[in-house]
Structures are given as C-alpha cells and as structure tokens.
Symmetry: C2
Subunit: 328 residues, 2 copies
C-alpha cells in the first residue's frame, strides 16, 4: 500500500474489484453506484456448473442481479419478486429440484445456455446481458475456460454445488481444488484492467476467500497481476466477530485448523501489498495485523450501507497508504 | 369398414387414434376417459423443433396436458393457470419471444431436453412423463427419428413453427414437405397397436389433415398399416360449416384449390376403408361422400362434449360398418 498515486480530477481513474456471489455482490453494488463505468468486477466462475442441461454461473448471476437492482436482498440469491411455477411443475414431472431456479432467473440461464451452445463466450454474453440490464460497470467472468471447484470432504470429493447446495455445506472439508485453474486463461480485459496505469485500487470484496476469491487467485496471471500491482489492494474481511454473515467461510476455517477471524484473512492475503478493512467489533485484532487497517461498520443490509462502505474503501485506498488511518 | 369384428366383453379390446395437437387432443381426451389403457395415441412430431436450446414437441405437449387435465381449454395450447414470468424476463434480456412458453410448460421442455441430450428417446421420455402426470393410455410420438414439416409459401420455404407461430399462417402456401418422413422409422409399439388382432377401431382425430395427420401417413409403414387394417377407420372431419374451429386447415385448403368442406376431407382419406364423422350442420354433404357417415354435433367445448363424441365414434366404428347409420 505504499505506491498509491493520487490522480487529479481530469485523469480517468479506474477500480477493479474481485468478488464471488452474495457477500461480494453487496459491496460491488456500492462500488458500482459510485464508480459506474470506472469499475471492473472480476467474478469467480469456479462455482459454475451444468444443471438440467443449463449452464449456470451463480456468482455472475448474483452480481448481475445485485448491480441491476433486481436481486432478492433477504433470500441472498436470485431475483426479487420471484415466482416458482417452473420448480413446482418440474417436481410433478420427477425432475431434479435440489437446486432452486425461479421463473425469472430461468430466463438468464436459458438465454446464456442457448448462446454458449452456439459458440459464444461467457464473457461476451455477460457483457451483453449487463447492457440489457442497464449496467454500466464491466462485469467479467474470471475466465472463459473451465475452472471447477471441488471440495475434499469426509464424504469424498464433491463438486462445489453438490457440497454447497445439495449437502448444505454439512460434510467436513479437508481441502479445496480448482480444476483447470492452472491452465485457464484469464480474460485479457481483466488483466488489462489490473495493469491500467490509472488503476486507483484493487478491492477484494468480502467474499469467501477460500471458495470465491482463491479460484481467481489460483490462476497464475491474476496472482502475478496482484503481486505486481502498483495500486493499493484493499481486502474487506468477510469475518465479523468470528463469523460470516452468510456462507461457510467460518466453518471451513475451523475445519482447516484456522481460527475464524480477520487475522487469518489478513494472513491469507499478506503476500500482496494490502490494506485491511475490518469491522468495528473486531478492532481489538488490529495489533495482530501488520498492514494499514480501516475499522468500520462492515455489515451491509441496504444499498445505502453498501455505498457507505464502498466510499470508505475507496477513500482508504486513496489516503491510507501513505498515512494509515489505523496501524499497529 | 366392412371387416369389423365385434368382440365379446371378455376380449381385451384396443383402439388407436392418430392425432395432432389442439383439435385432435380434444377428442383424445374423450377417448382416454372411456378407454384408458386400451387407447394408443399416435401423435404427430412434424411440428417439433428446437427453440431457445430446448427440444419442443408441441403436439405431444398438447396431448399430454389435455389427457392429464392440465391444459388451458380457452387458449387452446399450453397449461391451465399458467404464469409468464420467464417470458417477461427473457424479453428484458433481449431473448426471442415470438414463441410463448409459460413457466409451468417450461418444466416439460427442460426435463425432456435434458433427457434427450443424455441420449434417451422421445418415446421413452413421453411414456415416463405420461406416468408422472397420471395418464393411463399410451401416448406415442409417431417416430423417434427426425421428421420436420416445411411449408412452401410465397415468402419461401418456412419451417413449420416459423409459418405457424411467427408468421401466424399468413403466407400463402403452395406445398408441404415432411423432411425425413420417407426414411424415419415408426415406433414398433405403434405398428403393433395398429396390427393388434383385437383392434376395434382406428380413429383419425379432427386434426389438420395436411399438417398434423399427413406427417404420420407420409411414413410408409403407417400408411401401409392403415391400408391393410381390418379394423374400421373413423375419420372425424375438422371442417364444420366450411371452417375449422382453430388452425389453418380451411385457409390451406383454399390455397391448395380445394373447397373447405368435409367432402374434401373424405377425398383426402378415401384410399383407406373409412367411415366419416361430420357435423350436423353439414348433413347436406352426405350424398357426396361414398362412405358410412355419422352426422352429429362434432364441436367440443368441454370434456363432456369430448366424451360424448368419443362414445359416438366408438359406437359408429362398432356398428356402422355392417349397418351404416347414414349412407348415400
């Protein structure tokens, strides 16, 4: 965090954020509200899978819906004012119903699957769908190649959605694999955004580090881009008071022998030149974190919260690098 | 109609009906209500097409929904109490919306497409879906092979659904092709049903002869089975007072230089040993039809109507062959 450049108002600034689904998408909403077309989101696709013959990209979908303002905030996934006639009829016909797909949500899966089968790339389709949904920022899948997250568990090796949705994260994990990550090509536009000389900050959203951000960072060119970045990297910890708001990050940490706290999140990312954003509730942890720290309210329950936290992250990236707001 | 066998109550009787979608499905509902597992329906698949990456079989669907009692009687296609959230969302995303698919209806297309992509045959899937929907009769696609109906028009050669749904049958037709029909294999179970020694009747439902029944009869083994049948063949005319209840049969007839009347329907099928069922309104046409004739109310607006007409058709098949109810 010591190479930050302050840009004048006339310079075209840009920000890149790495994110997964729900938790990450909340901060992405705030960043988008502030930055619009200056924001590039690089989104995990390790959770993508084929189900019912449809290509489903859960994190891309969560981000698209959140940024378009059509996400269901209380459920945490899928679309608002959703209906379920399709699922009910599928059940009557004996189809697989463990993965819930709403009637509105289905339109995205069907349209994307149709285009992918005709040879179009996920990135191109995502860009087009973003435009149709009135989105100004760039939402980029981390790759157009296949990368698949698998969880090693006491019930054997489980594909991500089997672990996450079908088995509700109940099996005890002992390892995570990102098949294809080593050889997958990152998007050129994503690498360009990360090496943009006007890049103001890289934000690592409060997504699951092990399941949502690691798939991105397990691709060597992304890892190198972050290692070589001259822009500050702001990590927003997904652990608040020893727990996650949603998702299995805390449970996974315990199973990996790690104490669920922002200290371990810091350690996870410390090879990069980071600043940490942690919740006020965890301010006591500051002395264990050897990086610039912003203590704030990091719980987001509304768009207003998301915008406030996004503003604080951007401000932290701009100014905290030379003069850390709080530091050990 | 002169080889009919009368069976005793102890003999297992069977009836085969040939049908397309809407109009044919109405009579099929009545036949099913009377015959249950004694009924085999051979259904046109010439209208089948791939749309939005889904394998859609409109006539099979209409028959499944009608027999299961979940069809929309007023709309004439699709499911009752249908919702349209999927289509509305697809429109937002810029997807193709000229072919309407309801949220409930979608479950059938997605489940069937998934199974077909995994290598299962349409006939097997249709049988399974029938069971799931509580259907006792056998609903058989005319073939598991590809047969595609094309319409030659003043706007060029149009695939069936482009002509029928997208262009609303507006182009002027000058010919119809059933691509693949000559080489397609009929279902063994369908041919067996047609040559069953206990077959009591073959009913040609009031479907469009040119678009819904001809695809079946353009497959040589079906044509031969009907030519060689010892069971009476009962044709229910879809033309009532010079018009069809629904669909373009009357318009097509005019474009083919034929007067839309039950006389032309008779001529169309006269190479078979048929009996004709025409509407009371057309009783004046009897003298132009050289076959046993049943004049009755052939308009079906309720299940009760369908059952009454089905009973009359079966009775006509049983008794009219030796003693025609009405004959020239």
């Amino acid at each position: 965090m010591n190479n930050t450049k302050l840009h004048t108002a006339t310079t075209r600034k840009s920000v890149v954020a790495l994110c997964g689904g729900v938790g990450g998408a909340k901060l992405a909403m705030g960043l988008n509200a502030i930055l619009g077309s200056e924001l590039t989101l690089i989104v995990n696709t390790g959770d993508d899978f084929e189900h019912l013959g449809l290509y489903i990209s859960p994190d891309i979908d969560s981000v698209l819906y959140a940024i378009a303002g059509i996400n269901d905030m209380s459920r945490g996934w899928g679309r608002s004012q959703e209906t379920w006639a399709f699922m009910e009829s599928l059940k009557e016909l004996g189809g697989e119903t463990w993965f819930q797909i709403g009637d509105k949500d289905l339109a995205l899966h069907i349209e994307r699957t149709r285009r992918m089968r005709s040879g179009e790339k996920l990135s191109r389709i995502t860009t087009d769908l973003s435009k149709k949904l009135g989105i100004n920022c760039s939402i980029l899948p981390m790759t157009d190649d296949s990368v698949a997250t698998f969880i090693q568990t006491n019930e054997g090796l489980l594909p991500f959605q089997k672990y996450f949705v079908m088995r509700k994260c109940e099996p005890i994990s002992c390892g995570i694999e990102f098949r294809g990550a080593e050889s997958a090509n990152p998007l050129d536009t994503a690498i360009s955004a990360l090496s943009d000389p006007h890049l103001e900050a890289i934000i690592i959203c409060p997504s699951n580090p092990y399941l949502s951000i690691d798939p991105i960072l397990s691709m060597p060119l992304y890892r190198d881009a972050l290692l070589n970045s001259t822009a500050p990297i702001v990590v927003v910890s997904p652990i608040i008071g020893g727990k996650t708001i949603k998702g299995p990050a805390d449970k996974l940490m315990v199973e990996m022998g790690l104490q669920p706290s922002s200290i371990e999140i810091y350690k996870h990312y410390q090879s990069f030149n980071i600043g940490m954003v942690i919740d006020n509730i965890d301010s006591v942890l500051k002395k264990f974190i050897d990086a610039p720290i912003l203590c704030t309210n990091s719980v987001m329950t509304s768009l207003k919260d998301s915008i406030r936290l996004a503003e604080e992250c951007l401000s932290f990236a701009r100014y905290a690098c030379s003069e850390p707001i709080t530091h050990r």
